[in-house]
């Protein structure tokens, strides 16, 4: 569906947006090499990335704005996402529906998504349609018409979206509140879709000033993947986006950061719909951008060894060996400007109690902190991450997402292309060190999804 919220689903889909590249991705450079990824900046400040892929007659056109829910003013939660919806409502040049109709007329697909740090719009079309897509997309960067009527109708749609995705789903209710507890000061604790009463309170003026401030070429990244080459894309981009004047420089995205956390917190949601309980343990960790050199790569290896996949420690111990869990694992949240999160989770199986599962999860954390990992585990994890990146190159949308997310969160193309070397530099000691430093049970946030009290079905 159009206007999905990227936050969790998207970052999980990208695996580690810390991101990594296939060895086959040559170092970024300008020029018209027909396979290498290119990166350049137009005079008005718009960054452009071109990822050639000549296997099928398809192109993916994505425009990323460096603004997401964490950039919202206090009390205006949901505005970045609400605005994403409004971008489909027509401009002074093209009335509402004309852009969508033009995409439909050539069999293209389109969508958009919002996360904490970015909002992105994309179309998949035949390469010959690219100039048109750029013309439309560039047009709505500047000429959007915001009518009161559209705002009110779309507000209802957004509220329905909130009901459908969050209020109707027990695990989503828990995860929203868990997040609000994990972050005590940083705006990542506020849901991307916004709190209901704040969505209801957003005004025309709020939306208009949001648009004027953030929707400028110098706050955007264009990613084009597919059956194209860099020179063509550059020419097209200059003739469309290039015509837009640079906006005022935006102040840096300085946000309220987390204080040192000193408490453990439990967040529990009980619901009669829940028959099998589950639990998670959550820690915030620095993002790739904020982490000290090598730390984020070590965290990625740590999560991989600990809980990603059937051969991971958590799965092998809890699910296969002890047989107390039906699922157990971990993940590291994706590309972000300030923080990521490392999460471990488990769900009991058969007669096992949730407490037993939790104790086993904690025991594995203790073990990895005290004993570290083996060189072989490190090597396997590294190979797996790099292999995943080769597979990722097989999908235009996933490749474009990777580059877009990294650049929109303050990263560089080299963060992606240089990953193999950075992973090579990770040592077993470094992995143990980040485990000790960040997986502290003294400030972990636990989330419990439980049946109603007294209900053990």
């Amino acid at each position: 569906m159009r206007n999905s919220i990227a936050s969790v689903a998207l970052s999980a889909a990208f695996a580690l947006v810390l991101a990594v590249a296939a060895p086959s991705i040559a170092p970024a450079q300008e020029g018209d090499d027909d396979t290498a990824v290119s990166h350049f900046t137009l005079e008005n400040g718009l960054e452009v990335v071109v990822i050639p892929d000549h296997r099928a007659p398809v192109a993916t056109h994505m425009l990323w704005y460096k603004v997401g829910s964490a950039d919202e003013e206090p009390g205006k939660s949901g505005i970045a996402h609400f605005f994403e919806h409004l971008m489909f409502k027509g401009t002074s040049t093209y009335p509402s529906g004309e852009f969508s109709a033009a995409i439909a007329a050539v069999g293209g697909s389109e969508n958009a998504f919002t996360s904490y740090d970015y909002t992105a719009y994309y179309q998949q079309i035949a390469p010959s349609e690219l100039p048109d897509m750029m013309r439309f997309e560039a047009d709505r960067m500047r000429n959007l018409v915001l009518s009161e009527e559209n705002i009110e109708t779309e507000r209802q749609v957004v509220l329905e979206e909130r009901r459908q995705r969050t209020d109707n789903v027990p695990s989503s209710i828990l995860s929203e509140e868990l997040n609000a507890t994990l972050y005590q000061n940083h705006p990542y604790g506020i849901p991307v879709i916004g709190w209901q009463q704040e969505i209801e309170g957003l005004t025309h003026d709020d939306l208009k000033s949001f648009y004027d401030r953030f929707y400028t070429p110098n706050n955007a990244v264009l990613v084009v993947a597919g059956d194209v080459n860099a020179n063509q894309v550059r020419t097209m981009a200059e003739e469309t986006y290039g015509e837009i004047a640079r906006g005022p420089d935006l102040p840096s995205r300085a946000r309220p950061m987390e204080p040192e956390q000193k408490t453990t917190r439990d967040v529990t949601f009980r619901d009669p719909r829940v028959t099998v309980p589950n639990m998670s343990i959550n820690w915030y960790v620095p993002s790739a951008r904020r982490a000290e050199k090598g730390e984020f790569e070590a965290l990625a290896i740590l999560s991989e060894v600990l809980g990603e996949g059937l051969r991971s420690r958590l799965y092998q111990d809890l699910v296969v060996k002890q047989g107390i869990a039906s699922s157990a694992g971990s993940y590291l949240q994706g590309a972000a400007y300030d923080y990521s999160a490392l999460v471990i989770y488990g769900e009991p199986r058969g007669e096992a109690e949730l407490e037993t599962v939790e104790a086993a999860l904690v025991a594995q954390i203790d073990k990895i902190k005290s004993e570290g990992i083996t060189q072989q585990e490190l090597d396997t994890a590294r190979t797996k991450i790099l292999r995943d990146q080769i597979f990722m190159r097989d999908s235009q949308v996933r490749s474009a997402n990777l580059f877009g997310a990294v650049l929109a969160t303050g990263g560089k193309v080299e963060d992606i292309t240089g990953l193999p070397e950075r992973l090579d530099a990770v040592t077993v000691e470094a992995v143990q060190a980040v485990a000790k430093r960040y997986l502290d049970m003294g400030h972990a946030v636990k989330g419990y999804l439980l049946p109603e009290e007294g209900d053990r079905s």
Partner: protein
């Protein structure tokens, strides 16, 4: 339009002579620089596969499918096909579960299996450099899965946890109740994963017997994409699949018309009501298939300009999404409309849907709507079906299963353009003239008055 300039007779002959295999090559040209060439490859043992050779990434994707699926589950052992699907990477040949998975991980390959009512399918992605070793694992998984007691119990209990987790989920329960209501005692009424009771009664012997019955060459379809040429594929096919029995022993599954004109309610105090309406559908080989496909596009298909999307969401803000789908399964067909709206507006939303349905049934779409639907449906094919190796491999299997012909992609636009406005009006009448089955999940008082 077939383009022959990229045709390589040399490669063709080499494969033919060296492997004694039959290789036909078809070049699908879509208007752009890139093109997808489909080769029809047959091994010495007569195993057929479609191949799209592509060396731009060092990976190979295998997609294969056995016609069978949960509709083949023996009575009282519902969930068997699905349980079996979960066990193919849990030990095969002389490798137990641990050894098998370790090997798979070392090789950096991805292997996954899925089941639905009509098929059991597998997908394997591998790096080209170690494809021989990975394909040996595929051979073991497909021809000699072990079904050892430990993994059987583990996977069974994981599935059971899933079933229990769904027990009080109103949406899951709604979907189950709807299937039962539509299909009665037909196999399509039972969920792929079975029930706690039927699942508990499945033994390793049942799994072995089922595997021997449904994994054969006669019901196997294969699509391959990536860094492998026709010649190599020819020998691989016999190595991997050659030891399978010739003929599958499938039990006949009857065609069934879903029972419409009924209302299924799941009363639950939710902030939002989910609505689903089920109408008759069309078979994939129905001559009117494309008329129906275009009609569905106009009613509530993938684009943002469908009538349902416009009336329910864009104009009135009643829902986040409103859409329709054609389900053309092997033995039953339907057209389903779906949306979700705040509970107090469920009645209004239903009446908007009713109006959209009535107007399409009585007047049909406009000429302009049909034109837009045509260009969309023609243009979207490559984007939806050919934008990654896995998508292409799935498409290759689907085209063969539906018996559409290796030149289908070339012919498709003409088939679509041949549909007239009268055709679409006629199919709209045919599909929308019956009272639909209605599923309402939400607070009781919010459903349609009187059903």
């Amino acid at each position: 339009m077939k383009q022959t300039s990229n045709f390589h007779p040399g490669a063709f002959m080499r494969s033919f002579l060296n492997a004694g295999a039959l290789v036909a090559l078809i070049l699908i040209v879509v208007p752009a620089q890139a093109a997808v060439q489909i080769q029809d490859v047959t091994s010495q043992k007569g195993i057929d596969a479609w191949l799209v050779e592509d060396h731009s990434l060092p990976i190979i994707t295998f997609q294969f499918s056995f016609k069978s699926g949960s509709a083949q589950d023996p009575e009282g052992k519902e969930g068997l096909a699905n349980l079996m699907t979960g066990l193919f990477d849990e030990g095969a040949g002389d490798l137990d579960s641990d050894a098998f998975q370790l090997k798979l991980e070392e090789l950096g390959a991805e292997m996954s299996f899925r089941t639905n009512s009509d098929e059991i399918s597998g997908q394997v992605r591998m790096l080209a450099e170690n494809s021989d070793e990975v394909l040996e694992l595929v051979r073991l998984a497909v021809t000699s899965p072990r079904f050892d007691a430990d993994p059987v119990e583990r996977i069974r209990s994981q599935i059971a946890v899933g079933i229990r987790a769904d027990e009080r989920d109103p949406r899951k329960q709604g979907a189950l109740k709807l299937s039962e209501a539509l299909y009665g005692d037909h196999p399509y009424a039972h969920p792929d994963e079975g029930t706690l009771e039927s699942l508990s009664g499945i033994s390793p012997e049942d799994l072995k017997a089922f595997h021997a019955r449904v994994f054969a060459r006669s019901n196997l379809t294969i699509g391959v994409v990536g860094a492998i040429d026709a010649e190599s594929l020819v020998s691989v096919l016999d190595t991997v699949f050659g030891d399978l029995p010739e003929e599958a022993e499938l039990r006949p599954v009857a065609d069934i018309e879903p029972k419409l004109d009924q209302e299924i309610r799941i009363d639950y105090p939710l902030p939002q009501a989910t609505l689903q309406l089920v109408y008759p559908g069309v078979k994939r080989d129905d001559p009117e298939f494309f008329s129906a496909y275009l009609f569905n596009q106009i009613l509530g298909g993938g684009v943002f300009s469908s009538r349902l999307f416009n009336e329910v969401r864009e104009k009135r803000g009643l829902a986040y999404g409103a859409s329709s789908y054609l389900h053309s399964r092997d033995h039953a067909q339907s057209l389903a409309i779906q949306t979700a709206t705040s509970a107090e507006r469920a009645g209004e939303t239903l009446s908007v849907i009713d109006d959209v349905v009535a107007s399409l049934r009585d007047e049909g779409p406009t000429e302009e709507e049909l034109e837009v639907a045509k260009t969309y449906v023609i243009g979207s094919y490559a984007i939806n079906n050919l934008d990654s190796s896995t998508a292409i491999a799935r498409t290759l299997v689907g085209l063969q299963q539906d018996d559409l012909g290796i030149d289908y992609i070339e012919r498709r636009a003409d088939l679509i353009n041949a549909v007239t406005l009268d055709d679409v009006k006629e199919i709209a009448k045919r599909l929308l003239s019956q009272e639909p089955a209605l599923l309402v999940i939400g607070p009781a008082e919010q459903a349609r008055n009187g059903g």
